[in-house]
Symmetry: C2
Subunit: 228 residues, 2 copies
DNA sequence: CAATACAACGGTACTCAGTACCGTTGGGAG
DNA sequence: CTCCCAACGGTACTGAGTACCGTTGTATTG
C-alpha cells in the first residue's frame, strides 16, 4: 500500500531542503538521506535534480497533443487557445505545490530556464498545429502561425503567473477573457479565394479626416485590386 | 599580438569537435587539448561548455538595454520592434558562425534550451520596457504588454530562422515587413481622449456586398457615435 | 639594468550530477 | 516451497565546474 511512497517522500524532502538551504546548496544525497532512501532510488524516480520540481511536463505535453489531435474547432487558433486551458487547469489542480514551485523558479535561474524551455515546447507544438491547420506554406502564413502561438502562450503565462502570485481569484474566466483578446488580435485572413468571395474587403485604420474626404481613395483601393 | 588567440583557438576547436563527434561526445578536455591549452584556460575564457557557442548573449542584451534607454519613439512597441533589429544584425554580422551554431542547436536539446532561455531574457526586457512606457498598471495593459513583447520576439525569431536556414536573401527588409505586421496587430487604444481626435474611425470587416451598397450604413455608423 | 608588479597560463585536487552495473530483499503466483 | 520480479542499496565511474597554487612572460618603474 505504501510502496510508491518513496517518490512522494523524495519530493517532500526536496522541497523542504530547497526552502531551507536553497536549491544549489542542496545535494541529491541530502534529499535521499532525508527521504530515508538510497541515492540510486532518487534517480530511479526522477531523471535529474530539476525533475523533482517539474515531474509531469512531458505527460502534460502529450495530453495537450492528444487534445489537439482530437479537437474540431473552427480555426487552428481557437483550437489551440482552447487546449492551452488544460495547462492552467493542471496547475490549479496542483494547488499549493505549483505555488511553491513558482517561488523556487523565481529565485533560481537554472529552474527558471528549465521552465521556459518547457513552455517553448508547448509553443512549438502550437505553432506547428496552427501551421498545419492553415495548410498554407506561404511565408506570411508561417509568420502568422508563429505570432498566434506566441500570443496564446504569452496570454496563458500572464494569467497563470497572476494566479500563482495570488493576484486573481478566478483565473479560469480571466483566461477566457485573455484568449478572447488573443483571438480578436487576428482578424480572418483576407484575399484567400474561398467560395463566393468576390465582395468588398475593408482594412482598419483611423484618420482625422471625415468619411467624404477619404471616400475617393477608399473607392480606388477597393476597385484597384490589391492596394498598398 | 597573438595573445588572445587562445580564446579563438578554443572556439574553433570546440566547433570542429562538435561537428566531428557531436556535442555530448566531446569533453572539455578534448577541446582544450586540440586548442593546445590547459583545461583551466578553457574555463578562464568560457564559463561553461555551452558558453563556447553562445559567447556574447550578455553583451548583446545590455546593448539592447542601452538602446532602449536612449530611444525616443512614438510608442513602446515601436521602440522595441526597432531595438530588436540589433539582434538580427548581430547574427548577420556573425555570418557563417551563426549558421554553424544553428545546426548545432537544431540537433542538441541542451543547446536549444539554452538559446531559448536567452531569448526569454530579451522578451522579459521588452515586456518590462513596454509596460513601463505605457505606465498603466491595469491588468489588461499588462496583458497587452506581454502580448506585444511576445509578438516582437516571435516575429524576430521567424525572420532570423529563415535567414539561418538560407531561406531569404534579404532578412533586413523581411524584418521590416514582419515588424510592420506586428505593429499592425495592435491598434491604438481607443477611448482615451487625446488632443484633437474627433476624426473618423473605421473598423475592419469583410462583406460580400460592394462599397456603394454598404456606404449608407457605413455613414450611419460614422455619424452615429460609437456603433456596434 | 635590475627589481617589481601583473596578467595569463598549467596542474592538482576537490565537489557533485548523472550513469552503469551488481547484489539483495521482499513479497505474490505457480 | 520455489520461482519470479520489481524495487531497492551500494560501488565505481565519467565529466562539468570550482578553488587554489605555482610558473612564466611581459610591461613598468626606479
Amino acid at each position: 500500500m505504501s510502496k510508491p511512497a518513496a517518490r512522494i517522500r523524495l519530493a517532500d524532502a526536496a522541497f523542504a531542503l530547497f526552502d531551507e538551504r536553497g536549491y544549489e546548496q542542496t545535494t541529491v544525497d541530502d534529499i535521499a538521506e532525508r527521504a530515508g532512501v538510497g541515492r540510486t532510488t532518487f534517480f530511479r524516480h526522477y531523471r535529474s535534480k530539476e525533475d523533482v520540481i517539474f515531474p509531469d511536463h512531458d505527460r502534460l505535453l502529450t495530453l495537450i497533443k492528444d487534445r489537439l489531435a482530437t479537437s474540431s474547432h473552427s480555426t487552428g487558433l481557437i483550437a489551440v487557445s482552447d487546449a492551452v486551458r488544460l495547462v492552467l487547469l493542471h496547475y490549479i489542480d496542483e494547488g499549493d505545490l505549483a505555488r511553491r514551485r513558482y517561488t523556487l523558479t523565481s529565485k533560481v535561474a537554472v529552474l527558471r530556464d528549465r521552465e521556459i524551455a518547457s513552455v517553448a515546447r508547448y509553443q512549438r507544438l502550437f505553432r506547428e498545429f496552427i501551421a498545419d491547420w492553415m495548410g498554407d506554406p506561404t511565408e506570411s502564413a508561417s509568420l502568422r502561425a508563429e505570432l498566434m502561438a506566441a500570443a496564446v502562450v504569452a496570454a496563458h503565462n500572464h494569467v497563470l503567473r497572476r494566479w500563482l502570485r495570488g493576484e486573481t481569484s478566478d483565473p479560469v474566466v480571466e483566461m477566457d477573457e485573455a484568449m478572447r483578446d488573443v483571438v480578436a488580435l487576428f482578424p480572418a485572413p483576407s484575399g484567400s479565394g474561398e467560395a463566393g468571395d468576390a465582395g468588398t474587403t475593408l482594412v482598419a485604420f483611423r484618420t482625422g479626416q471625415d468619411l467624404d474626404t477619404l471616400l475617393p481613395s477608399l473607392r480606388r483601393l477597393v476597385e484597384g485590386g490589391t492596394g498598398r
